[in-house]
């Protein structure tokens, strides 16, 4: 054991992993305690969105680039995987990785010009990009545009892990969603202690000093974009398989973008547990309020939602995770001005 593994940093990271394993075990065993379909469905959705939030967190929280158009990658992942399945007969277990790859590449493409923009300009640009994607997909006939695509359940194959179709028992999706969440969690954990993690934090604190120590700012941002977009894409494919139907409205619109970013912010942006805590609070709340209150179109769910956001933002800006005693770093203004040009680094 070298000196490095004795540091407080190393000890803390080991603790995080252990805590993660415990949480994972609890979540895995949850279906044993909960039996009704509605709740199980809710759990699966929450797990998926927690994964989305964690993936978003890599770019938005750790790297500090607030992307409000992230649903684009969900949609791309979903569509690539589904098109491969429906038109090409490719099983989703492979298709989701293809979806992730395309989404990751797209994220790089978007990042290349956008990372040059600072703070608010960047955020708005991401919204615009998301909208452009949404509008384009809405009018693209090759992918059935606004009608959407139904993912058929192929009787001949039956329940299958390869093809990710399960007719009655949704339990496998619970496992799948949990695996996705674990993957994003581990990625975030790994990234936190990696060269990129340090680079991002340094840049957030003082970009000039960071450069003077050899940090390649632009390259590190691109890495964040690729990781974040790629993971989101994979999740998108899983989401598509679970829901069984996709259209631009459900996998690519602005509302979804917000729903992905919000848990991370609410729970504590740039932290390991923030997105999980945030999703655990936000997703059930939004689903429940929509079911019980929103049906009448009376908007009470929105009011609660909105009030909650304002409340947490004002009273606990470092995120709800801090209520659980989780140490939250005090990041500098995350939407601050760090404008980049590809030539610089």
């Amino acid at each position: 054991m070298t000196a490095a593994s004795h540091t407080t940093i190393a000890r803390r990271r080991r603790r995080e992993l252990i805590a993660g394993a415990i949480v994972l075990a609890v979540l895995a065993l949850l279906p044993l305690a909960v039996h009704d379909t509605y709740s199980r469905n809710l759990i699966i959705i929450t797990l998926l969105f927690a994964g989305f939030a964690q993936a978003w967190n890599v770019l938005g929280g750790y790297c500090g680039q607030i992307s409000l158009g992230h649903a684009l990658y969900v949609g791309v992942g979903a569509y690539v995987s589904t098109m491969l399945l429906v038109r090409g007969g490719v099983p989703p277990t492979l298709g989701m990785f293809a979806g992730g790859a395309v989404a990751g590449l797209l994220a790089l493409l978007v990042g290349w010009p956008c990372f040059r923009l600072s703070g608010h300009y960047y955020a708005i640009a991401t919204v615009v990009v998301g909208e452009i994607g949404y509008q384009l997909f809405l009018n693209w006939d090759w992918i059935s545009a606004a009608e959407g695509i139904n993912i058929p359940y192929v009787r001949a194959i039956g329940d299958s892990w390869l093809w990710l179709q399960f007719r009655i028992d949704k339990l496998p999706f619970h496992i799948l969603a949990l695996t996705f969440l674990t993957a994003t969690f581990l990625t975030a954990w790994w990234v936190e202690g990696s060269r990129w993690g340090f680079s991002w934090r340094a840049v957030k604190d003082d970009p000039i000093a960071a450069r003077s120590l050899g940090v390649r700012v632009f390259r590190s941002k691109m890495a964040a974009a690729a990781i974040s977009g790629g993971l989101t894409g994979i999740g998108g494919a899983i989401y598509a398989q679970y829901v069984g139907y996709i259209d631009p409205e459900s996998v690519m619109n602005g509302q979804l973008s917000i729903l992905i970013a919000l848990p991370a912010v609410l729970g504590g942006v740039g932290t390991l547990w923030g997105p999980l805590v945030g999703a655990a609070v936000l997703i059930p709340l939004s689903e429940l309020s929509r079911s019980y209150l929103g049906g009448s179109g009376r908007g009470t769910d929105l009011m609660i939602y909105g009030a909650l956001i304002v409340g947490v933002a004002l009273l606990r800006p470092q995120g709800l995770a801090s209520l659980l005693g989780i140490r939250v770093r005090a990041p500098r203004d995350v939407a601050g001005d760090v404008a980049e040009s590809p030539r610089a680094a």
Partner: protein, 241 residues
């Protein structure tokens, strides 16, 4: 010859900060860059460290051109610098600050941490490794600056007013640290205002005035040069020619 500064000139918006500057730095040497305020020292530093590109002339490290390539390329080539106003990463601990620098050379997190720990030990900050960087005393912050820069394993270290504003005891400790850095085989260029501290430390001095090199040579000679005295103190104090 480690570093060659070859007829470097730089203007900012019509004001000439550096004009035709030429000198070199040898391996393992401690060079002092001195001159009154406004002589162009910081601007020269910025050119050598890559933050700024000279308008004319070239800067070479080990024979290869490094001017105009940007700060990151300079770090990779082996030049590191500190800043006059300490720029620590306030959201991180001391150790984490240094790790950022270590990543310039280290392959992975473990190697970077090893390097960082070693450097912290060397600069005497090991006890403060887990302290938040904002909580350091001014002299500790200066050490942190040096530690971070050293973590990038440079061949040449640029120190920007490291010893200014320290108490005599702190300054003595600082000078010892600079000497220790040299024993690691790192060449150093220092900019200082406080002459009594600088002169005993350096091997050679380059004097700048109004953007040009006034003279260079051994510190003892340079300090007796009438032109230098005049530049610093004005005509009234020039010794009778």
């Amino acid at each position: 010859m480690l570093l060659e500064v070859d007829r470097v000139s730089k203007s900012f918006g019509g004001v000439a900060a550096n004009v035709d500057i030429s000198f070199d730095v040898q391996q393992g040497e401690i060079l002092g860059l001195i001159g009154p305020n406004g002589a162009g020292k910081t601007s020269l530093f910025n050119s050598i460290a890559g933050q700024v590109t000279p308008d004319r002339g070239e800067i070479r490290l080990d024979g290869a051109r490094i001017s105009g390539l940007g700060p990151v390329a300079c770090v990779e080539a082996g030049i590191a610098r500190t800043f006059q106003v300490v720029r620590s990463f306030d959201s991180m601990t001391v150790l984490e600050n240094v790790i950022v620098g270590a990543f310039a050379r280290a392959r992975g997190a473990r190697a970077a941490t090893e390097t960082a720990l070693e450097v912290l030990d060397f600069t005497g900050l090991a006890a403060r490794a887990d302290a938040p960087a904002i909580g350091l005393t001014p002299s500790e912050k200066r050490r942190l600056e040096i530690a971070r820069a050293l973590a990038t394993k440079p061949h040449l270290l640029l120190l920007d007013e490291m010893l200014t504003g320290l108490t005599p005891t702190e300054a003595q400790a600082g000078m010892q640290l600079v000497r220790d850095v040299r024993t690691r085989g790192v060449a150093i260029i220092m900019v200082e205002h406080v002459m009594e501290v600088l002169l005993p430390l350096i091997d050679r001095a380059v004097v700048l005035d109004l953007g040009r090199v006034l003279t260079q040579g051994h510190p003892a000679d340079v300090v007796r040069d009438p032109a230098v005295i005049r530049a610093y103190l004005g005509d009234r104090y020039a010794p009778a020619a």
